[in-house]
Amino acid sequence: MEATVGSANTIGKLNSEAPVSKATANYKEQAAGKTVGIPFVEHPKMSMRDVQVYYGDKQAIFDVGLDIGKNEVVAMIGPSGCGKSTFLRCLNRMNDTIDICRVEGSLKLEELDIYDPKLDVVPLRARVGMVFQKPNPFPKSIYDNVAYGPRIHGLVSRKSELDEIVETSLRRAGLWEEVKDRLLSPGTGLSGGQQQRLCIARTIAVSPEVILMDEPCSALDPIATAKIEELIAELSANFTIAIVTHSMQQAARVSDRTAYFHLGKLIEVNETEKVFTNPDHELTEAYITGRFG
């Protein structure tokens, strides 16, 4: 709480130096806990309302409401510890693995209530896949890595179908040409960037509707990063993507809309271009111009 007050003060000072008219109004909106910009869309793929997340007694996410449209790429940015990962992990209930984590509010995948206690998370996670920050291929062959999802979900009955899924997934992940001759060699023997693309291939092999990515490029060099970004752009034709990133350039390059989180609150959601050129909220502006974060 103190931190909030602190940053509000900073903003106050900034405002007095830079005579921007929108500042005061937005500051009030933030105090009221409202998200500025366009958090909601028509016919969303996923829609979240009044989401609160607690780790034990500590609240990590406050009143977040956000929609993710079909085949849209939404980037989530914000300073470290502001709750981006926490929020993202709510979307396919990965937070279930943390004992002390508690989620409130309404989270929907189309008509499906994600936090329905009766819901089986297995099919949910088949529909909402996830790519993690650190490439984490299984210690198995490249083929088995990609084939794992289809196998456990029983998507195929014949080996030839499985081969086909593996190939198309690897192709879509832009990895096929590099690995087609060594499908049976270990996935962990690939370079970091290749491993991450393998993880993406593994995720898309089960044809999810939504792909969640938590800083998928943070462990990669610029060239590997560029490849993944290209890949995200291509994937957005078929998938809905929510991506957390620390790189504003990356958010700018790959996303349609950008959501800015600050201390567990969703401050602003807008068209990416607008966020990076003319944000509505001064906290966003302070962040993207590098004044904190």
């Binding site: 693995t97 896949g129 456990i152 979900h153 993880c199």
Partner: protein, 428 residues
């Protein structure tokens, strides 16, 4: 020149000291390893020095007249006659023939003692397979008695400094005469690896105890590994952290420190007295040892499960694997090497465990080699204990030989474990 040294000079000045320290540090480590190795060498030298002679056994060649009459066999097609035939008699005749000067009753009895009283069975086996030898004269090698065996083994080549024990001059005369004849010989002691225990050292073997240990360990492994792994999986993957699981954890750790004899008492009270299971059987021994090894296996399995990188779990969960699939496909395979290590440590402990087995009767004198987990048997460490307690000098070398077999058992087990682990560990 200024008093103040530059940084790099300071660093260089300290460098020598740092190197010296580093060397000392390494020297401590090397010294510890040398000490350990030295102890091992002393132990091995002592055991092998004492025990190697048990792998050879003294045999005496006798010229035996196999007359049908003396044997009491009238019809060579009647097997029952072979069973009852007087083999000892013909062997004794052979001895009397060789030493015709012996005629007092007591002297004669002593004379017959040159050969093992198992020699008759040897002759029977020979005749049952070759009945045509009846009514011929054959030279056969028969087991010498343990006293003569000890004498012959301890005798240096010129005949001096032999261990005579309770031998009289006459007895020494006999054996020396036989040695002079060239009819005494040391041969590989097959009996030691083929027979069960016996009161007669020359007929006593380790096989009974070895099989007993093997069956007991199989029971222990088959019970403790799955139970231990399942308990560890539950505690690590399913149980929520609360007072109750803390309580369980503390108690598992306590259990690991309980003296093994208590488990023996428990086994006696529950399995033998309450469930009326038979005494002295590997099944009960294995169950008791399971109780003892479980904590070790649970603790090491939990550590192994904890060491599986969370990123692998997340990856599997993230594409929709169920909890059980995560455990079966990813956690267990990755944790298996560590769990096996724990299991092997537990098994090695179980192999060397004596106290609890004494209480459930696996200390009985058992001659037959057990053929299954419900046959009465003893185990290697108990056999060592029994033999070390026997007065016959020939059991001294057998005790050491049994220790060698036990160590060999351990080495085989550990080697298998290392190989298995290396196979499983083949991290990609």
């Amino acid at each position: 020149m200024s008093e103040k040294l530059s940084t790099i000079d300071l660093v260089n000045k300290n460098l020598a000291r740092r190197y010296r320290r580093e060397k000392r540090f390494r020297a401590y480590g090397i010294a510890s390893i040398m000490f350990g190795l030295l102890c091992l060498v002393i132990l091995f030298a002592d055991i092998i020095g004492k025990g190697h002679s048990a792998f050879l056994q003294t045999y005496v060649r006798l010229n035996v007249e196999l007359s049908a009459e003396a044997l009491g066999i009238s019809d060579i097609n009647d097997p029952s006659q072979f069973v009852r035939a007087n083999y000892d008699g013909v062997l004794r005749n052979a001895l009397r023939e060789r030493f015709p000067e012996v005629n007092k009753r007591r002297e004669k009895r002593n004379l017959y003692g040159i050969i093992s009283n198992g020699a008759g069975y040897q002759l029977r086996d020979l005749l049952e397979q070759n009945p045509q030898l009846i009514n011929t004269r054959v030279d056969i090698w028969v087991l010498a008695d343990d006293d003569y065996d000890t004498y012959y083994k301890s005798r240096s080549s010129d005949g001096s400094e032999a261990y005579t024990g309770r031998f009289s001059e006459t007895q020494i005369g006999w054996i020396e005469a036989l040695i002079a004849d060239g009819v005494v010989e040391k041969r590989f002691n097959r009996t030691f690896f083929q027979a069960g225990d016996s009161r007669e050292p020359e007929q006593a073997g380790i096989r009974g105890a070895m099989m007993g240990s093997l069956y007991t360990l199989i029971v222990t492994f088959v019970l403790s590994f799955p139970i231990g792994v399942a308990a560890a999986v539950y505690l690590e993957e399913y149980a929520h952290k609360n007072r109750f699981t803390d309580f369980i954890e503390v108690n598992i750790n306590n259990l690991a420190a309980v003296p093994s004899i208590i488990f023996g008492l428990l086994g006696l009270a529950i399995f033998i007295n309450f469930f009326s299971m038979p005494r002295s059987i590997p099944l009960v021994g294995g169950i008791v040892l399971t109780l003892m090894t479980l904590p070790t296996i649970i603790i090491s399995s939990r550590a192994a499960i904890k060491a599986v990188p969370p990123s692998i779990r997340e990856a599997a969960l993230g594409i929709g694997a169920s909890k059980m699939q995560v455990i079966l496909h990813h956690v267990l395979p990755l944790a298996m090497p560590g769990m096996l290590t724990g299991a092997i440590i537990g098994m090695a402990q179980a192999l060397g465990e004596t106290a609890p087995l004494l209480l459930i009767g696996m200390v009985a004198f058992i001659v037959d080699v057990p053929g299954g987990i419900t046959d009465p048997s003893t185990v290697l460490p108990v056999q060592i204990f029994l033999w070390s307690d026997s007065p016959e000098r020939a059991f001294v070398e057998r005790t050491s030989a049994a220790i060698m077999v036990l160590l060999g058992f351990l080495i085989v087990m550990n080697t298998l474990a290392v190989l298995l682990r290396r196979r499983l560990e083949r991290r990609w």
